[in-house]
Amino acid sequence: MTGNRVYLKGNEALAYGALEAGLNAYFAYPITPSSEIPETLAKEFGNKKYPEYKFFLQAASELEAINMVIGAASGGARAMTATSSPGFSLKQEGLSYAACMELPLLIADICRAGPGLGNLGPEQSDYFQGTKGGGHGDYRLIVLAPATVQEMASLPRLGFDLAFKYRNPVLILGDAFTGQLKEDVEFPEFTPEHYEVSSWATTGAKGRPPHILNSLELDFQKHYKHLGSIYEKYRHAQENEVRFEEYKTEDADSVIVSFGIASRIAKGAVNRMRSRGVKAGLFRPITLWPFPKIQLKRLASEGKRFLDVELNSGQMLEDVKLAVGDGVTVNFLGKWGGIVPTEAEIENKLKRLEVVAV
Protein backbone atom coordinates (compact mmCIF):
# COMPACT_ATOMS: atom_id res chain seq x y z
CA MET A 1 0.00 0.00 0.00
CA THR A 2 2.83 2.38 0.92
CA GLY A 3 3.61 5.02 -1.69
CA ASN A 4 0.57 4.23 -3.83
CA ARG A 5 -2.44 6.35 -4.48
CA VAL A 6 -5.53 4.25 -3.93
CA TYR A 7 -9.24 4.79 -4.09
CA LEU A 8 -10.76 3.59 -0.81
CA LYS A 9 -13.75 3.84 1.44
CA GLY A 10 -13.04 5.62 4.71
CA ASN A 11 -13.44 2.43 6.72
CA GLU A 12 -11.06 0.56 4.41
CA ALA A 13 -8.56 3.41 4.67
CA LEU A 14 -8.75 3.22 8.47
CA ALA A 15 -8.01 -0.52 8.33
CA TYR A 16 -5.01 -0.06 6.01
CA GLY A 17 -3.87 2.88 8.10
CA ALA A 18 -3.83 0.65 11.17
CA LEU A 19 -1.86 -2.02 9.27
CA GLU A 20 0.68 0.58 8.11
CA ALA A 21 0.91 1.69 11.74
CA GLY A 22 2.10 -1.78 12.75
CA LEU A 23 -1.15 -3.33 13.98
CA ASN A 24 -0.49 -6.64 15.80
CA ALA A 25 -3.98 -7.84 16.68
CA TYR A 26 -7.52 -6.93 15.74
CA PHE A 27 -10.62 -8.06 17.63
CA ALA A 28 -13.82 -7.63 15.70
CA TYR A 29 -17.51 -7.32 16.21
CA PRO A 30 -19.54 -6.27 13.17
CA ILE A 31 -21.85 -3.29 13.27
CA THR A 32 -23.06 -1.01 10.49
CA PRO A 33 -21.63 1.39 9.34
CA SER A 34 -18.20 0.25 10.55
CA SER A 35 -18.09 -3.31 9.23
CA GLU A 36 -15.68 -2.67 6.34
CA ILE A 37 -12.97 -2.22 9.00
CA PRO A 38 -13.09 -5.85 10.27
CA GLU A 39 -13.85 -7.10 6.75
CA THR A 40 -10.72 -5.43 5.35
CA LEU A 41 -8.61 -6.66 8.26
CA ALA A 42 -9.94 -10.20 7.87
CA LYS A 43 -9.06 -10.10 4.17
CA GLU A 44 -5.53 -8.81 4.79
CA PHE A 45 -4.77 -11.27 7.60
CA GLY A 46 -1.84 -13.39 6.51
CA ASN A 47 -0.69 -10.87 3.87
CA LYS A 48 3.11 -10.97 3.99
CA LYS A 49 3.22 -7.22 3.49
CA TYR A 50 2.16 -6.89 7.11
CA PRO A 51 4.48 -9.21 9.05
CA GLU A 52 3.55 -7.52 12.35
CA TYR A 53 -0.13 -8.37 11.89
CA LYS A 54 -0.32 -11.55 13.96
CA PHE A 55 -3.92 -12.10 14.92
CA PHE A 56 -7.49 -11.47 13.82
CA LEU A 57 -10.52 -12.80 15.65
CA GLN A 58 -14.23 -12.08 15.49
CA ALA A 59 -15.57 -11.95 19.04
CA ALA A 60 -19.02 -12.96 20.24
CA SER A 61 -19.88 -9.52 21.59
CA GLU A 62 -18.64 -5.95 21.79
CA LEU A 63 -17.67 -6.63 25.41
CA GLU A 64 -15.67 -9.67 24.50
CA ALA A 65 -13.88 -7.79 21.72
CA ILE A 66 -12.79 -4.86 23.91
CA ASN A 67 -11.63 -7.22 26.66
CA MET A 68 -9.59 -9.20 24.14
CA VAL A 69 -8.01 -5.90 23.12
CA ILE A 70 -7.26 -5.29 26.81
CA GLY A 71 -5.55 -8.68 27.06
CA ALA A 72 -3.47 -8.12 23.93
CA ALA A 73 -2.58 -4.55 24.94
CA SER A 74 -1.50 -5.88 28.36
CA GLY A 75 1.03 -7.98 26.50
CA GLY A 76 2.38 -4.81 24.88
CA ALA A 77 0.81 -5.46 21.46
CA ARG A 78 -0.65 -2.85 19.12
CA ALA A 79 -4.23 -3.96 19.49
CA MET A 80 -7.38 -2.44 18.12
CA THR A 81 -11.10 -2.76 17.69
CA ALA A 82 -13.76 -0.69 15.94
CA THR A 83 -17.46 -0.24 16.38
CA SER A 84 -20.36 2.13 15.85
CA SER A 85 -22.45 4.01 18.39
CA PRO A 86 -24.60 1.27 20.02
CA GLY A 87 -21.44 -0.82 20.22
CA PHE A 88 -19.47 2.13 21.55
CA SER A 89 -21.81 2.24 24.56
CA LEU A 90 -20.88 -1.38 25.26
CA LYS A 91 -17.16 -0.60 24.97
CA GLN A 92 -17.30 1.92 27.81
CA GLU A 93 -16.75 -0.66 30.56
CA GLY A 94 -13.53 -1.83 28.96
CA LEU A 95 -12.31 1.69 28.21
CA SER A 96 -12.79 2.74 31.83
CA TYR A 97 -10.71 -0.24 33.00
CA ALA A 98 -8.07 0.31 30.30
CA ALA A 99 -7.67 3.99 31.22
CA CYS A 100 -7.12 3.12 34.89
CA MET A 101 -4.78 0.22 33.97
CA GLU A 102 -2.93 2.65 31.67
CA LEU A 103 -3.20 0.45 28.60
CA PRO A 104 -2.34 1.69 25.12
CA LEU A 105 -5.08 0.67 22.73
CA LEU A 106 -6.85 2.03 19.70
CA ILE A 107 -10.58 2.07 19.12
CA ALA A 108 -12.62 3.60 16.31
CA ASP A 109 -16.25 4.66 16.61
CA ILE A 110 -17.89 5.18 13.24
CA CYS A 111 -20.68 7.21 14.74
CA ARG A 112 -24.22 6.71 13.48
CA ALA A 113 -27.47 8.34 14.48
CA GLY A 114 -28.65 7.58 18.00
CA PRO A 115 -29.89 7.30 20.67
CA GLY A 116 -30.75 3.62 20.88
CA LEU A 117 -30.63 1.96 17.51
CA GLY A 118 -31.16 5.30 15.78
CA ASN A 119 -30.29 4.76 12.15
CA LEU A 120 -27.33 4.15 9.89
CA GLY A 121 -26.83 7.76 8.85
CA PRO A 122 -24.07 10.02 10.14
CA GLU A 123 -24.17 11.83 13.46
CA GLN A 124 -21.50 13.28 15.72
CA SER A 125 -23.58 12.51 18.76
CA ASP A 126 -20.97 10.37 20.52
CA TYR A 127 -18.90 13.51 21.15
CA PHE A 128 -19.83 13.57 24.84
CA GLN A 129 -19.28 9.84 25.30
CA GLY A 130 -15.93 10.08 23.53
CA THR A 131 -14.50 13.24 25.04
CA LYS A 132 -15.88 13.25 28.59
CA GLY A 133 -14.83 9.76 29.63
CA GLY A 134 -17.92 7.80 28.68
CA GLY A 135 -17.58 4.97 31.16
CA HIS A 136 -17.62 5.16 34.95
CA GLY A 137 -14.95 7.03 36.85
CA ASP A 138 -12.92 10.09 35.97
CA TYR A 139 -10.74 9.48 32.93
CA ARG A 140 -10.25 10.71 29.40
CA LEU A 141 -9.64 9.19 26.02
CA ILE A 142 -7.44 10.97 23.51
CA VAL A 143 -9.93 11.62 20.71
CA LEU A 144 -8.99 12.15 17.06
CA ALA A 145 -11.58 13.30 14.52
CA PRO A 146 -10.94 12.54 10.84
CA ALA A 147 -12.63 14.76 8.27
CA THR A 148 -11.38 13.02 5.12
CA VAL A 149 -10.66 9.49 3.94
CA GLN A 150 -7.00 10.54 3.90
CA GLU A 151 -7.24 11.28 7.62
CA MET A 152 -9.01 7.96 8.23
CA ALA A 153 -5.82 6.45 6.77
CA SER A 154 -3.31 8.60 8.64
CA LEU A 155 -4.86 8.98 12.09
CA PRO A 156 -4.29 5.34 13.18
CA ARG A 157 -0.54 6.09 13.08
CA LEU A 158 -0.94 9.10 15.32
CA GLY A 159 -3.43 7.11 17.38
CA PHE A 160 -1.03 4.28 18.18
CA ASP A 161 1.78 6.79 18.82
CA LEU A 162 -0.29 8.71 21.34
CA ALA A 163 -1.68 5.53 22.89
CA PHE A 164 1.81 4.22 23.63
CA LYS A 165 3.30 7.60 24.50
CA TYR A 166 0.61 8.24 27.11
CA ARG A 167 -0.35 4.62 27.87
CA ASN A 168 -3.99 5.52 27.41
CA PRO A 169 -6.78 4.41 25.08
CA VAL A 170 -7.11 6.51 21.92
CA LEU A 171 -10.41 6.94 20.10
CA ILE A 172 -10.78 7.74 16.41
CA LEU A 173 -14.23 9.32 16.30
CA GLY A 174 -15.48 9.13 12.74
CA ASP A 175 -19.02 9.05 11.45
CA ALA A 176 -21.10 7.09 8.96
CA PHE A 177 -20.21 9.61 6.26
CA THR A 178 -16.39 9.48 6.60
CA GLY A 179 -16.64 5.69 6.99
CA GLN A 180 -18.62 5.17 3.79
CA LEU A 181 -17.17 7.98 1.66
CA LYS A 182 -14.77 6.91 -1.10
CA GLU A 183 -11.75 9.08 -1.93
CA ASP A 184 -8.15 8.95 -3.13
CA VAL A 185 -5.73 8.11 -0.36
CA GLU A 186 -1.96 8.08 -0.09
CA PHE A 187 0.13 6.10 2.33
CA PRO A 188 3.49 7.82 2.64
CA GLU A 189 6.55 5.80 3.75
CA PHE A 190 6.32 5.27 7.46
CA THR A 191 8.16 3.37 10.14
CA PRO A 192 6.15 3.01 13.32
CA GLU A 193 7.85 4.54 16.36
CA HIS A 194 9.09 1.91 18.79
CA TYR A 195 7.83 2.20 22.34
CA GLU A 196 9.45 0.19 25.10
CA VAL A 197 6.85 -1.90 26.92
CA SER A 198 9.16 -4.12 28.98
CA SER A 199 8.70 -2.03 32.13
CA TRP A 200 4.98 -2.81 32.39
CA ALA A 201 3.73 -5.46 29.93
CA THR A 202 2.58 -8.82 31.33
CA THR A 203 4.91 -11.09 29.40
CA GLY A 204 6.01 -13.36 32.25
CA ALA A 205 7.94 -12.40 35.39
CA LYS A 206 11.34 -13.62 34.24
CA GLY A 207 14.23 -12.01 36.11
CA ARG A 208 12.05 -9.21 37.42
CA PRO A 209 9.25 -8.68 39.95
CA PRO A 210 5.74 -9.42 38.65
CA HIS A 211 3.91 -6.80 36.61
CA ILE A 212 0.37 -6.24 37.79
CA LEU A 213 -2.04 -4.45 35.46
CA ASN A 214 -4.90 -3.48 37.67
CA SER A 215 -7.58 -0.87 38.19
CA LEU A 216 -8.34 -2.00 41.76
CA GLU A 217 -6.69 -0.15 44.63
CA LEU A 218 -8.37 -0.55 47.98
CA ASP A 219 -5.98 1.84 49.71
CA PHE A 220 -7.55 5.30 49.27
CA GLN A 221 -4.24 7.17 49.56
CA LYS A 222 -2.60 4.96 46.94
CA HIS A 223 -5.57 5.29 44.60
CA TYR A 224 -5.55 9.05 45.09
CA LYS A 225 -1.88 9.08 44.08
CA HIS A 226 -2.35 6.73 41.12
CA LEU A 227 -5.21 8.80 39.70
CA GLY A 228 -3.21 11.97 40.35
CA SER A 229 -0.42 10.63 38.17
CA ILE A 230 -2.93 9.84 35.43
CA TYR A 231 -4.36 13.37 35.62
CA GLU A 232 -0.83 14.77 35.43
CA LYS A 233 -0.42 12.75 32.22
CA TYR A 234 -3.65 14.27 30.89
CA ARG A 235 -2.39 17.77 31.74
CA HIS A 236 0.76 17.02 29.75
CA ALA A 237 -1.34 15.81 26.81
CA GLN A 238 -3.44 18.99 26.98
CA GLU A 239 -0.27 21.08 26.74
CA ASN A 240 1.39 19.08 24.00
CA GLU A 241 -1.03 17.16 21.84
CA VAL A 242 -3.62 19.64 20.64
CA ARG A 243 -4.11 19.44 16.88
CA PHE A 244 -6.37 21.56 14.73
CA GLU A 245 -6.75 23.09 11.29
CA GLU A 246 -7.36 26.75 10.64
CA TYR A 247 -8.73 27.71 7.23
CA LYS A 248 -8.86 31.39 6.26
CA THR A 249 -9.42 32.47 9.86
CA GLU A 250 -6.74 35.17 9.87
CA ASP A 251 -8.78 37.98 8.36
CA ALA A 252 -12.17 36.38 9.01
CA ASP A 253 -15.02 38.21 10.72
CA SER A 254 -16.99 34.98 11.12
CA VAL A 255 -15.43 31.68 12.14
CA ILE A 256 -17.21 28.38 11.81
CA VAL A 257 -16.12 25.83 14.40
CA SER A 258 -16.77 22.32 13.21
CA PHE A 259 -15.12 18.88 13.12
CA GLY A 260 -15.22 15.71 11.06
CA ILE A 261 -17.59 15.49 8.13
CA ALA A 262 -19.51 18.60 9.23
CA SER A 263 -16.31 20.64 8.90
CA ARG A 264 -15.96 19.65 5.26
CA ILE A 265 -19.37 21.01 4.45
CA ALA A 266 -18.50 24.09 6.49
CA LYS A 267 -15.32 24.52 4.45
CA GLY A 268 -17.44 24.51 1.30
CA ALA A 269 -19.65 27.17 2.85
CA VAL A 270 -16.56 29.26 3.70
CA ASN A 271 -15.44 29.06 0.06
CA ARG A 272 -18.89 30.12 -1.14
CA MET A 273 -18.90 33.09 1.21
CA ARG A 274 -15.38 34.09 0.28
CA SER A 275 -16.37 34.05 -3.39
CA ARG A 276 -19.00 36.67 -2.66
CA GLY A 277 -16.58 38.72 -0.57
CA VAL A 278 -17.66 37.67 2.93
CA LYS A 279 -14.72 37.12 5.28
CA ALA A 280 -15.51 33.71 6.71
CA GLY A 281 -13.11 31.09 8.07
CA LEU A 282 -13.11 27.61 9.55
CA PHE A 283 -11.59 26.34 12.78
CA ARG A 284 -11.48 22.55 12.87
CA PRO A 285 -10.37 20.66 15.99
CA ILE A 286 -8.58 17.44 14.99
CA THR A 287 -8.05 16.43 18.61
CA LEU A 288 -11.47 16.66 20.26
CA TRP A 289 -9.66 15.80 23.46
CA PRO A 290 -7.41 17.54 24.27
CA PHE A 291 -9.61 20.33 22.95
CA PRO A 292 -7.90 23.34 21.29
CA LYS A 293 -9.29 25.84 23.79
CA ILE A 294 -6.34 28.25 23.87
CA GLN A 295 -6.45 28.60 20.09
CA LEU A 296 -10.19 29.32 20.14
CA LYS A 297 -9.73 31.80 22.98
CA ARG A 298 -7.20 33.64 20.83
CA LEU A 299 -9.67 33.87 17.93
CA ALA A 300 -12.32 35.12 20.36
CA SER A 301 -9.97 37.83 21.61
CA GLU A 302 -9.68 39.04 18.00
CA GLY A 303 -13.41 39.78 18.07
CA LYS A 304 -14.56 37.06 15.66
CA ARG A 305 -18.15 35.95 15.39
CA PHE A 306 -18.62 32.20 15.96
CA LEU A 307 -20.88 29.62 14.43
CA ASP A 308 -20.60 26.05 15.69
CA VAL A 309 -21.80 23.41 13.20
CA GLU A 310 -22.27 19.81 14.32
CA LEU A 311 -24.27 16.68 13.56
CA ASN A 312 -25.96 16.71 16.95
CA SER A 313 -27.95 19.09 19.13
CA GLY A 314 -24.89 20.95 20.42
CA GLN A 315 -22.27 18.84 22.15
CA MET A 316 -18.91 20.32 21.16
CA LEU A 317 -20.75 23.63 21.44
CA GLU A 318 -20.31 23.41 25.23
CA ASP A 319 -16.53 23.13 24.88
CA VAL A 320 -16.43 25.95 22.35
CA LYS A 321 -18.40 28.19 24.74
CA LEU A 322 -16.07 27.30 27.60
CA ALA A 323 -13.06 28.07 25.43
CA VAL A 324 -14.17 31.49 24.17
CA GLY A 325 -15.44 32.50 27.60
CA ASP A 326 -18.31 34.63 28.86
CA GLY A 327 -19.49 37.51 26.74
CA VAL A 328 -18.70 35.87 23.41
CA THR A 329 -21.74 34.62 21.53
CA VAL A 330 -21.41 31.23 19.90
CA ASN A 331 -24.19 30.56 17.41
CA PHE A 332 -25.17 27.05 16.55
CA LEU A 333 -26.36 25.07 13.58
CA GLY A 334 -27.07 21.43 14.29
CA LYS A 335 -28.46 18.57 12.26
CA TRP A 336 -29.22 15.13 13.57
CA GLY A 337 -30.99 11.87 12.78
CA GLY A 338 -28.69 11.14 9.82
CA ILE A 339 -29.28 14.54 8.17
CA VAL A 340 -26.31 16.75 7.24
CA PRO A 341 -26.52 20.49 6.58
CA THR A 342 -25.95 21.85 3.09
CA GLU A 343 -23.37 24.52 2.34
CA ALA A 344 -26.24 26.86 1.54
CA GLU A 345 -27.85 26.26 4.93
CA ILE A 346 -24.63 27.15 6.70
CA GLU A 347 -24.19 30.19 4.49
CA ASN A 348 -27.75 31.35 5.15
CA LYS A 349 -27.32 30.88 8.88
CA LEU A 350 -24.22 33.10 8.81
CA LYS A 351 -25.98 35.66 6.64
CA ARG A 352 -28.78 35.96 9.17
CA LEU A 353 -26.23 36.46 11.93
CA GLU A 354 -24.58 39.23 9.89
CA VAL A 355 -27.93 40.99 9.57
CA VAL A 356 -28.45 40.78 13.31
CA ALA A 357 -24.92 42.03 13.91
CA VAL A 358 -25.41 45.06 11.62
Binding site: A60, N67, S74, Y97, L213, N214, L216
Partner: protein, 266 residues
Protein backbone atom coordinates in the same frame (compact mmCIF):
# COMPACT_ATOMS: atom_id res chain seq x y z
CA UNK B 1 1.59 -43.11 56.20
CA UNK B 2 1.54 -39.39 55.64
CA UNK B 3 0.10 -38.07 52.44
CA UNK B 4 2.23 -35.44 50.74
CA UNK B 5 0.15 -32.93 48.91
CA UNK B 6 3.01 -30.83 47.62
CA UNK B 7 6.34 -32.24 46.52
CA UNK B 8 7.91 -29.60 48.71
CA UNK B 9 5.57 -30.58 51.54
CA UNK B 10 4.68 -27.29 53.19
CA UNK B 11 7.98 -25.72 52.22
CA UNK B 12 8.42 -22.47 50.35
CA UNK B 13 7.03 -22.34 46.86
CA UNK B 14 8.62 -19.98 44.35
CA UNK B 15 5.21 -19.16 42.90
CA UNK B 16 3.85 -18.10 46.28
CA UNK B 17 4.64 -14.73 47.85
CA UNK B 18 4.93 -14.36 51.61
CA UNK B 19 1.90 -12.10 51.90
CA UNK B 20 -0.67 -13.48 54.36
CA UNK B 21 -4.00 -14.00 52.62
CA UNK B 22 -7.17 -12.02 53.34
CA UNK B 23 -9.36 -15.11 52.94
CA UNK B 24 -11.71 -16.02 55.74
CA UNK B 25 -10.87 -18.98 57.95
CA UNK B 26 -11.94 -22.20 56.27
CA UNK B 27 -12.18 -20.64 52.81
CA UNK B 28 -10.73 -22.78 50.05
CA UNK B 29 -9.53 -19.87 47.91
CA UNK B 30 -6.26 -20.04 49.84
CA UNK B 31 -6.09 -23.78 49.21
CA UNK B 32 -6.50 -23.29 45.48
CA UNK B 33 -3.90 -20.53 45.49
CA UNK B 34 -1.42 -22.97 46.99
CA UNK B 35 -2.38 -25.79 44.61
CA UNK B 36 -1.83 -23.49 41.65
CA UNK B 37 1.51 -22.33 43.01
CA UNK B 38 2.58 -25.95 43.56
CA UNK B 39 1.50 -27.01 40.07
CA UNK B 40 3.25 -24.07 38.40
CA UNK B 41 6.43 -24.73 40.37
CA UNK B 42 6.36 -28.42 39.52
CA UNK B 43 5.82 -27.70 35.83
CA UNK B 44 8.61 -25.09 35.99
CA UNK B 45 6.56 -22.44 34.17
CA UNK B 46 6.41 -19.60 36.73
CA UNK B 47 8.33 -17.13 34.56
CA UNK B 48 6.01 -17.78 31.63
CA UNK B 49 2.71 -17.71 33.49
CA UNK B 50 0.20 -14.87 33.63
CA UNK B 51 -2.88 -14.99 35.81
CA UNK B 52 -6.05 -13.11 34.94
CA UNK B 53 -7.67 -12.15 38.23
CA UNK B 54 -11.43 -11.83 38.29
CA UNK B 55 -13.87 -9.84 40.36
CA UNK B 56 -14.86 -11.46 43.62
CA UNK B 57 -12.90 -13.08 46.42
CA UNK B 58 -10.19 -14.13 43.96
CA UNK B 59 -9.40 -10.57 42.94
CA UNK B 60 -6.51 -10.07 45.38
CA UNK B 61 -4.63 -13.16 44.11
CA UNK B 62 -2.00 -10.81 42.69
CA UNK B 63 -0.81 -10.35 46.26
CA UNK B 64 -0.19 -14.06 46.70
CA UNK B 65 0.86 -15.59 43.39
CA UNK B 66 4.26 -14.54 42.19
CA UNK B 67 3.36 -14.14 38.50
CA UNK B 68 2.36 -11.32 36.22
CA UNK B 69 -1.32 -10.47 36.67
CA UNK B 70 -4.05 -8.67 34.78
CA UNK B 71 -7.14 -7.83 36.79
CA UNK B 72 -10.19 -8.13 34.55
CA UNK B 73 -13.66 -6.61 34.82
CA UNK B 74 -16.47 -8.74 36.27
CA UNK B 75 -16.89 -11.83 34.08
CA UNK B 76 -14.43 -10.79 31.37
CA UNK B 77 -11.36 -12.73 32.45
CA UNK B 78 -11.52 -15.40 29.69
CA UNK B 79 -11.69 -12.68 27.01
CA UNK B 80 -8.69 -10.89 28.51
CA UNK B 81 -6.85 -14.22 28.74
CA UNK B 82 -7.63 -14.92 25.10
CA UNK B 83 -6.29 -11.52 23.96
CA UNK B 84 -3.02 -12.00 25.83
CA UNK B 85 -2.57 -15.63 24.78
CA UNK B 86 -2.98 -14.76 21.09
CA UNK B 87 -0.20 -12.19 21.10
CA UNK B 88 2.01 -14.23 23.47
CA UNK B 89 1.30 -17.90 22.67
CA UNK B 90 4.42 -18.89 24.65
CA UNK B 91 2.73 -17.90 27.92
CA UNK B 92 0.58 -20.08 30.17
CA UNK B 93 -2.51 -17.95 30.77
CA UNK B 94 -5.20 -18.84 33.28
CA UNK B 95 -8.11 -17.36 35.19
CA UNK B 96 -9.52 -18.02 38.63
CA UNK B 97 -13.18 -17.00 38.74
CA UNK B 98 -16.07 -17.39 41.10
CA UNK B 99 -19.45 -18.82 40.15
CA UNK B 100 -21.02 -15.35 40.04
CA UNK B 101 -18.23 -14.09 37.82
CA UNK B 102 -17.90 -16.99 35.37
CA UNK B 103 -21.35 -18.57 35.39
CA UNK B 104 -23.48 -15.43 35.54
CA UNK B 105 -22.20 -12.07 34.31
CA UNK B 106 -19.34 -13.71 32.40
CA UNK B 107 -21.09 -16.77 30.99
CA UNK B 108 -20.72 -15.56 27.40
CA UNK B 109 -16.98 -15.03 27.81
CA UNK B 110 -16.61 -18.49 29.37
CA UNK B 111 -18.73 -20.34 26.83
CA UNK B 112 -17.05 -18.70 23.85
CA UNK B 113 -13.55 -19.26 25.22
CA UNK B 114 -14.46 -22.97 25.32
CA UNK B 115 -16.31 -22.95 22.01
CA UNK B 116 -13.24 -21.57 20.20
CA UNK B 117 -10.96 -24.11 21.91
CA UNK B 118 -8.98 -21.16 23.22
CA UNK B 119 -5.72 -22.51 24.68
CA UNK B 120 -6.27 -21.09 28.16
CA UNK B 121 -7.15 -22.57 31.55
CA UNK B 122 -10.16 -21.55 33.63
CA UNK B 123 -10.55 -22.42 37.31
CA UNK B 124 -14.05 -21.85 38.60
CA UNK B 125 -14.45 -21.70 42.36
CA UNK B 126 -18.03 -22.78 43.02
CA UNK B 127 -19.19 -21.92 46.51
CA UNK B 128 -22.84 -21.53 45.50
CA UNK B 129 -22.96 -17.88 46.53
CA UNK B 130 -21.72 -14.36 45.79
CA UNK B 131 -19.09 -14.26 48.52
CA UNK B 132 -17.42 -10.87 48.30
CA UNK B 133 -20.62 -8.89 47.89
CA UNK B 134 -22.00 -10.44 51.04
CA UNK B 135 -23.83 -13.67 50.25
CA UNK B 136 -26.38 -13.09 47.50
CA UNK B 137 -27.82 -15.80 45.26
CA UNK B 138 -25.41 -17.13 42.65
CA UNK B 139 -26.31 -19.11 39.50
CA UNK B 140 -25.08 -22.15 41.44
CA UNK B 141 -27.07 -21.57 44.64
CA UNK B 142 -28.90 -24.77 45.52
CA UNK B 143 -32.67 -25.13 45.52
CA UNK B 144 -34.03 -23.85 48.80
CA UNK B 145 -30.68 -22.40 49.86
CA UNK B 146 -31.02 -19.23 51.90
CA UNK B 147 -29.04 -16.22 50.72
CA UNK B 148 -29.49 -12.49 51.30
CA UNK B 149 -31.48 -12.20 48.06
CA UNK B 150 -33.37 -15.47 48.59
CA UNK B 151 -34.29 -15.04 52.27
CA UNK B 152 -36.95 -17.73 51.97
CA UNK B 153 -34.65 -20.08 50.09
CA UNK B 154 -33.98 -20.23 46.33
CA UNK B 155 -37.25 -20.61 44.48
CA UNK B 156 -36.30 -22.59 41.38
CA UNK B 157 -39.66 -21.87 39.72
CA UNK B 158 -38.70 -18.21 39.67
CA UNK B 159 -34.91 -18.27 39.41
CA UNK B 160 -34.30 -21.59 37.67
CA UNK B 161 -32.35 -24.54 38.94
CA UNK B 162 -28.63 -24.24 39.78
CA UNK B 163 -26.47 -23.85 36.70
CA UNK B 164 -24.16 -26.80 36.11
CA UNK B 165 -21.16 -25.16 34.47
CA UNK B 166 -19.18 -28.41 34.04
CA UNK B 167 -22.07 -30.14 32.30
CA UNK B 168 -22.60 -27.09 30.13
CA UNK B 169 -18.95 -26.85 29.08
CA UNK B 170 -18.60 -30.59 28.56
CA UNK B 171 -21.28 -30.23 25.89
CA UNK B 172 -19.20 -27.71 23.97
CA UNK B 173 -17.04 -29.17 21.21
CA UNK B 174 -14.08 -26.87 21.82
CA UNK B 175 -13.54 -27.83 25.47
CA UNK B 176 -10.74 -30.39 25.78
CA UNK B 177 -10.74 -30.93 29.52
CA UNK B 178 -13.65 -30.48 31.92
CA UNK B 179 -13.34 -31.67 35.48
CA UNK B 180 -15.25 -31.07 38.69
CA UNK B 181 -13.22 -31.52 41.84
CA UNK B 182 -13.71 -30.47 45.45
CA UNK B 183 -11.52 -28.41 47.74
CA UNK B 184 -13.43 -29.39 50.87
CA UNK B 185 -11.67 -31.87 53.14
CA UNK B 186 -13.80 -34.88 53.96
CA UNK B 187 -14.75 -36.35 57.29
CA UNK B 188 -14.44 -40.14 57.46
CA UNK B 189 -14.81 -42.67 60.23
CA UNK B 190 -11.78 -44.73 61.15
CA UNK B 191 -10.68 -47.00 63.95
CA UNK B 192 -9.43 -43.88 65.74
CA UNK B 193 -12.79 -42.16 65.33
CA UNK B 194 -13.57 -39.29 62.94
CA UNK B 195 -10.65 -38.11 60.87
CA UNK B 196 -10.29 -35.82 57.89
CA UNK B 197 -8.93 -36.95 54.58
CA UNK B 198 -7.39 -34.75 51.93
CA UNK B 199 -8.33 -37.17 49.16
CA UNK B 200 -10.35 -34.40 47.52
CA UNK B 201 -7.40 -32.03 47.61
CA UNK B 202 -5.09 -34.58 45.98
CA UNK B 203 -7.60 -35.00 43.17
CA UNK B 204 -7.97 -31.22 42.89
CA UNK B 205 -4.21 -30.85 42.69
CA UNK B 206 -4.02 -33.40 39.89
CA UNK B 207 -6.82 -31.56 38.09
CA UNK B 208 -4.99 -28.23 38.37
CA UNK B 209 -1.82 -29.77 36.93
CA UNK B 210 -3.74 -31.49 34.15
CA UNK B 211 -5.49 -28.26 33.27
CA UNK B 212 -2.11 -26.61 32.71
CA UNK B 213 -0.91 -29.62 30.72
CA UNK B 214 -3.96 -29.39 28.46
CA UNK B 215 -3.10 -25.77 27.74
CA UNK B 216 0.46 -26.78 26.84
CA UNK B 217 -1.07 -29.25 24.37
CA UNK B 218 -3.12 -26.40 22.87
CA UNK B 219 -6.49 -27.18 24.45
CA UNK B 220 -9.08 -25.36 26.51
CA UNK B 221 -9.20 -26.64 30.08
CA UNK B 222 -11.85 -26.00 32.71
CA UNK B 223 -11.81 -27.12 36.31
CA UNK B 224 -14.73 -26.41 38.60
CA UNK B 225 -13.76 -26.57 42.26
CA UNK B 226 -16.47 -27.00 44.85
CA UNK B 227 -15.78 -24.79 47.84
CA UNK B 228 -17.36 -23.47 50.99
CA UNK B 229 -18.32 -20.01 52.15
CA UNK B 230 -18.97 -20.60 55.80
CA UNK B 231 -19.37 -16.89 56.60
CA UNK B 232 -22.18 -16.39 54.08
CA UNK B 233 -23.62 -19.86 54.49
CA UNK B 234 -23.85 -19.08 58.22
CA UNK B 235 -22.43 -22.50 59.07
CA UNK B 236 -19.32 -23.43 61.01
CA UNK B 237 -16.25 -24.33 58.98
CA UNK B 238 -16.72 -28.05 59.61
CA UNK B 239 -20.45 -27.89 58.92
CA UNK B 240 -19.62 -26.14 55.65
CA UNK B 241 -17.19 -28.85 54.59
CA UNK B 242 -19.82 -31.45 55.44
CA UNK B 243 -22.44 -29.51 53.42
CA UNK B 244 -20.20 -29.68 50.33
CA UNK B 245 -19.41 -33.37 50.75
CA UNK B 246 -22.94 -34.47 51.58
CA UNK B 247 -25.28 -32.02 49.83
CA UNK B 248 -23.56 -29.89 47.17
CA UNK B 249 -21.98 -32.94 45.47
CA UNK B 250 -25.48 -34.38 44.89
CA UNK B 251 -26.33 -31.45 42.63
CA UNK B 252 -22.78 -31.05 41.34
CA UNK B 253 -21.27 -34.56 41.14
CA UNK B 254 -17.48 -34.71 41.17
CA UNK B 255 -15.68 -36.30 38.29
CA UNK B 256 -14.09 -36.04 34.90
CA UNK B 257 -16.64 -34.69 32.44
CA UNK B 258 -14.39 -34.53 29.42
CA UNK B 259 -10.79 -35.30 28.53
CA UNK B 260 -10.34 -35.40 24.78
CA UNK B 261 -6.54 -35.29 25.05
CA UNK B 262 -6.43 -38.09 27.60
CA UNK B 263 -4.31 -36.25 30.18
CA UNK B 264 -5.90 -38.00 33.16
CA UNK B 265 -4.65 -41.39 31.99
CA UNK B 266 -1.07 -40.25 31.43
Amino acid sequence: MTQTIYKTKLGKLESLTETPTHYCAGCEHGTLTRLIAAAVDELGIREKTVMIDSVGCSVLAYNYLNFDHIVAAHGRAPAVANGLKRVHPELTVFTVQGDGDAASIGLLELVYAAQRATPITVFLVNNAIYGMTGGQMAPTTLEGQVTTTTPLGRDVHLTGTPLDASKLLAGIDGAAYVKRASLAVQEISSARGKVYTIRNLLDAKKSVENAFKVQALGGFAFVELLSTCSINWKLSILESKRFVNETVVKKFPLGLYKDTLGVEKK
